[in-house]
Symmetry: C2
Subunit: 337 residues, 2 copies
């Protein structure tokens, strides 16, 4: 059997390009005792991967040159030499950008069996996986929304943002999204049920963007789930109410080296804001509770999501670069079988 | 009897000047039923007053033009028509920039009797008053220091900063101050017992300031009590450890209109920092506990402080402008008798 995989060929000087990746063809290794061979059905592409490509001080180790790109995967056990797994089991893991992975079945957290009858397998990479839990931790645990409050989330049609807004609605909040393009905004409001969505591409300057915010959030903003940074962050900060909370989840506008200055730091004091940067993997005790709620909502059809699916491992680099540009629409996946 | 008082004559266009204040001479009013006449011994001057002089959206109402400048006071009851007070009682209140005040004795929070036998009366405006409680709330409640951690505070020789560092030491932390001038830094280390102090005036650029921080805080910074903003804030942020906490108490560098951009907002995410802006008057439930600890420490000689004392109400504007420039050394007071 042959495994196709994508490795990091070089680090981007500024903007990442397909030249930073290399497709390799290698034999599928046989699992040793205690190991499990998994065939991946889907690979997840997520913005955090961009930061791993840099050799910079960061919250995680940089991705080594020549190593398989890191990434979440769902798939099926094809051969097991570990008593906890059997061929045919559906599993979610961190198999990386490749078709097959051999995983140590005994190491906690590497592999988790999932039920693919109630919930589509791919959802374990999105609404019922890391992005969904990210939304849950940032909104429920950090922002702690109260009914009647206004919650704003940017990258609102994406895997994280779409869950943030729907969870905010479930808590009785006004949910305001920010997304790039009229089609994404229409989806956010009409299909996901947000109260309003602002197309940031239609508001190129601060005055225009804040005027749109004033219309969408007439009582100001109590909670901000921040995925983007830069001018969008500055604009929403200027509309925060006293005692507002900011969950700082990502800064995708700055992943390729742009400045991430916060223009008006004074607001953090004058509005007595609470801001917290977080990474979902550092909140493991919250995962079971989050996954239980998210899984229940998806199974009941109450948590909607959309997927952009690229076909085949060779398509992963282009799909990933598109994700960084906002060309995806919903959760970006690569289908591998 | 004649009352001398300082009113806000005009709002500063940028930097405040003596022309923004006016000295007035008026008769001392007689207290009505339920009221108390207080003669002020000391007036407190504090940086927050500068923000009240502007007509800007802020956490408090702007100071009205023509009204007596707001300010904390300690003094003695000279006439009481309220059963809770008697002539001779020592009281702390918000009497403003004037020699006498008539206060409603029945309204909670306006006036508080204090014991001036164990603790000097003026200390109720400093270490055992609003500045001390500010230090306590920001450090103990928000930063929550753990033994062995490194805590940095700027404006370290001031009323708030000096208490922050000494409280940090009492919790087993490494306390690092930042202050303007070699004399202030020597005092912070030699008399207050901080482990190190950086003279920011001797480090004019980012590289020099961060090199000094690396020497003073070799294990990085776990907690930052921020009073200043601007380049000092940026430098300390760059040295924060993962999961660091920032209590944002003041931004004195920007009170006269300078930019308060945070240059590298990315650090808030990559270091998973928690930042909270706060005002001590919004944490009233914590005051009794804080005052008890602070009063005990001052009475025992374990919480040291220094005072800059101007003489007479007419000297208040100059003393206040000096405070904004860092020309005071320790708690800035105006002695009125």
């Amino acid at each position: 059997m042959t495994n196709h995989r994508i490795v990091l060929a070089s680090r981007p000087a500024a903007e990442a390009s397909v030249d930073n990746f290399r497709l390799e063809e290698v034999p599928v290794p046989a699992p040793a005792d205690g190991q499990v061979l998994v065939r991946h059905h889907y690979l997840s592409l997520d913005p955090y991967m961009r930061m791993r490509m840099n050799d910079a001080k960061n919250y995680a180790e940089p991705q080594p040159i020549g190593a398989v790109m890191i990434g979440g995967t769902v798939g099926e056990v094809v051969e097991s030499r570990h008593p906890g797994y059997a061929a045919g089991d559906k599993v979610v893991g961190m198999g990386g950008w490749q078709e097959y992975a051999v995983v140590d079945g005994g190491q906690a957290g590497l592999l988790r069996k999932v039920d693919a009858t109630r919930i589509p397998l791919a959802a374990y990479l999105g609404a019922v996986g890391m992005p969904g839990v990210t939304a849950w931790v940032g909104l429920i645990h950090l922002i702690q929304p109260k009914a009647g409050e206004t919650i704003v989330v940017d990258a609102a049609s994406g895997a994280v943002g779409s869950a943030v807004g729907q969870l905010a609605k479930s808590r009785g909040c006004r949910a305001v999204g920010i997304a790039g393009g009229a089609d994404k905004c229409a989806y956010v409001v009409d299909e996901l049920g947000f109260d309003a969505c602002i197309d940031y591409k239609a508001h190129r300057d601060f005055a225009s963007l804040t005027a749109a915010l004033d219309a969408a959030a007439p009582k100001g903003v109590d909670g901000l789930f921040e995925n983007v940074g830069g001018r969008i962050f500055d604009a929403v900060l200027s509309r925060m109410n006293a005692f507002g909370r900011v969950a700082l989840c990502g800064l995708i506008s700055g992943y390729e080296g742009e400045s991430l200055a916060i223009a008006n730091g004074r607001l953090l004091l004058t509005q007595r804001l609470k801001l917290q940067g977080f990474i979902v993997s550092e909140h493991m005790p919250l995962w079971p509770q989050a996954l239980q709620e998210l899984g229940g909502l998806v199974a009941a059809g109450k948590l909607k999501y959309r997927e952009s699916v690229a076909q085949g491992i060779a398509a992963a680099p282009e799909a990933f670069l598109g994700l960084l540009k906002g060309r995806n629409f919903g959760k970006q996946l690569v289908k591998l079988i």
